[in-house]
């Protein structure tokens, strides 16, 4: 078995737009190994959001192949993709995307609910995940009772609770001040040190600097793929 968590080959994604077809990705090939920490960068319109949606199995490509953790996922049905997301991927969003009326604990339990895990085990695993991000004292608070940094920690705990093969973060510090941003990036680095594979999509070089590898997209194609000496 290969240790590649992600392998995409000749990935194409086109969108119909006013009768014409717009190519957001024009044949991208990329591999990410287990326990890599990769930042995906690029100016707006470079196709990084499209790539992030495809890597996150929220969308399927118009052409090309995508192996996630050894499984070909580029031609799956909606429901099969939902199961893959549930098992393999942990999302961290710019806007946190927590359920506003649910406690931190319940938010973290949610992926386990859809995985069909029994309520006692669910609770134990959610508590463990929240403890991992240092929120063991805020478990019963609702999102609006938490600071931005704390909310993002809840989201990270939620992303980790299913022990995914890939942690996928989309501008995770976009809504946070610089101090809090540093704090969140430290959490990412710790997770990486513990063996987690992480992909962060960002347009901020200071965030990308935390990763050990930086992939830059331009016009739907790979522009550069470099090792980050500082982080490595």
């Amino acid at each position: 078995m290969s240790d590649r968590v992600i392998h995409v080959e000749e990935l194409v994604r086109e969108y119909p737009m006013g009768g014409e077809k717009v190519l957001a990705l024009r044949g991208l090939t990329l591999s990410i190994r287990r326990n890599e920490y990769v930042a995906i960068m690029g100016p707006s319109g470079s196709g990084k959001s499209t790539l992030m949606n495809l890597l996150g199995c929220l969308d399927t490509p118009s052409g090309g192949d995508y192996w996630l953790n050894g499984q070909e996922v580029s031609r799956l049905t909606d429901d099969a993709l939902a199961r893959v997301r549930n098992k393999e991927i942990g999302f961290v969003f710019q806007t946190f995307n927590l359920l506003p009326r649910a406690s931190a604990l319940h938010n973290v339990e949610l992926p386990l609910v859809y995985a069909g895990v029994g309520s006692r085990e669910r609770r134990e695993r959610a508590v463990r995940a929240l403890t991992r991000v240092g929120l063991q004292n805020r478990m019963h608070h609702r999102p609006n009772e938490l600071s931005g940094g704390q909310r993002q920690r809840v989201a990270i705990a939620r992303a980790l609770v299913n022990e995914p093969s890939l942690l996928l973060a989309d501008e995770p510090t976009g809504n946070l001040d610089s101090t809090t941003s540093e704090e969140i990036m430290r959490v990412f680095s710790e997770l990486h040190a513990q063996g987690q594979t992480i992909v962060v999509v960002t347009h901020e070089p200071s965030i990308a600097a935390h990763a050990e590898r930086v992939v830059v997209l331009r016009d739907g194609k790979l522009d550069s793929d470099t090792r980050n000496r500082a982080a490595a």
Partner: protein, 419 residues
């Protein structure tokens, strides 16, 4: 492997949370269903209550228990067609001879009476300056008092010599006696004016109470011979037969029919020119009437339910719209279409079932109020409650399908971007 989706229990918890999260909105959403179901439960309760009442009380009070009648025309005359009505108009009146023939055929009867029939004439009864208006006057033979199980609060019943000698005497209901003289005892032996004649009050019956707001104590019984001297022989004169046990009634009705045919000299091919009815006829007549209601109710309830269902569908669509983001989050975290569909379907099921429950409660309350403040009795029946709850749940599922399907088909990327 365990099923890879949200357990039902979780979905129900979520649904309750969401419905109770906006109580006022849920209530207004459910108004249609609540009103329809309350209407259903209350109306059925009133009809069922009346059914029971007619059966238990009215027949006893009007025909007598364990009794049947030999009549010129059937009790449920309102149900006959014009032709049938015309055919029976030529039937002869019942006579003393008919009553005598029935009596000979039924030596085991507890009582056989003859009485003036419908419409019962009314008259004022006055004593000096006191007058009781519109008292129903029945001309009867003594056995009538046995057929209707009258008990006497004071005095004594009409007797055979009263009939034979056409005496000017009367037995009055407790209400008449109390209005004129204060108590039953004081009425005995008093002379009153009744239908323009002077009569002596011989007995006062014990209270029978009221049925449907109608008093059964505002009457006067006079000898049928006296009655016919005043009003003439009535077309509707009726013979009543009271048996000792309910089992004896069927056989006794057959023997009475045979005796009547002999007395009337009917040939085997000729149809009866009289009717033998028992209390059931009155109950059946009432049932036939309520059957009409039972066909109208479903139509009204259906309209209410459909309107209520559309409101639920609307609110669910609104809710799907408002919660687009939530749906996106759930999908990103691994909810399948089925999970989302089930979540919203169960939510609308819970919502509508709550409507059903509140509707039943409101209907229940309404029937209690009705039976408390109007003479109509009410009796809640299990089946109307069951039907109501099923109707509520069914409405929720039916009208929840479309919003739930829409929610489940949302694209997770677009949904996550929604505000």
């Amino acid at each position: 492997m365990l099923s890879c989706s949200m357990p039902i229990r979780e979905a129900f918890r979520l649904a309750l949370q969401s419905v109770l999260g906006s109580k006022l909105r849920s209530f207004f959403t459910l108004l249609g269903i609540i009103v329809s179901v309350a209407f259903l439960v209350a109306v059925v309760a009133v009809i069922q209550g009346m059914n029971a009442y007619v059966k238990d009380t009215m027949t006893g009070a009007m025909i007598g228990t364990n009794a049947f009648q030999v009549r010129r025309l059937p009790i449920a005359i309102g149900l006959l067609s014009d032709e049938e009505l015309k055919a029976i108009q030529r039937r002869p009146k019942l006579t003393m001879d008919d009553a005598e023939a029935v009596r000979r055929a039924l030596p085991d009867a507890q009582a056989i009476s003859i009485q003036s029939g419908w419409p019962t004439p009314t008259s004022d009864i006055s004593h000096r300056n006191n007058t009781v208006g519109d008292v129903m006057i029945f001309g009867v033979t003594p056995d009538y008092q046995l057929v209707l199980d009258y008990r006497f609060a004071a005095g004594e019943p009409l007797s055979d010599p009263d009939i034979r000698e056409r005496r000017p005497v009367a037995v009055v209901g407790s209400e008449v006696a109390e209005k004129l003289f204060g108590t039953a005892e004081r009425a005995i032996g008093q002379r009153v004016r009744l239908a323009g004649r002077e009569m002596r009050i011989k007995g006062v019956t014990a209270r029978k109470g009221r049925v449907l707001g109608q008093s059964f104590d505002g009457f006067a019984l006079i000898p049928i011979s006296t009655f016919e001297a005043i009003y003439g022989r009535r077309l509707t004169t009726t013979v009543s037969v009271k048996m000792r046990n309910p089992e004896e009634i069927a056989g006794a009705m057959d023997r009475a029919q045979e005796a009547m045919r002999l007395s009337r000299h009917l040939r085997p091919a000729e149809v009866d020119n009289f009717t033998i009815d028992k209390a059931d006829a009155l109950v059946n007549f009432w049932r036939r009437l309520t059957k009409v209601l039972f066909t109208v109710i479903p139509a009204v309830v259906c309209i209410g339910i459909v309107v209520g269902g559309i409101v639920i569908m609307n609110i669910m669509l609104m809710s799907v719209n408002e919660r687009t983001r939530e749906i996106g989050i759930r999908k990103a975290l691994g909810a399948t279409r089925r999970d989302i569909r089930r979540q919203f379907l169960i939510e609308s099921l819970v919502l509508a079932t709550l409507g059903g429950i509140f509707g039943v409660a409101a209907g229940w309350g309404l029937s209690v109020v009705v039976s408390q403040f109007t003479p109509l009795p009410a009796r809640i029946t299990g089946w109307s409650v069951a039907v109501s709850l099923l109707l509520g749940a069914g409405t929720g599922v039916t009208f929840g399908v479309y919003p739930a399907a829409r929610a489940s088909r949302l694209d997770p990327i677009a949904a996550l971007r929604a505000e």
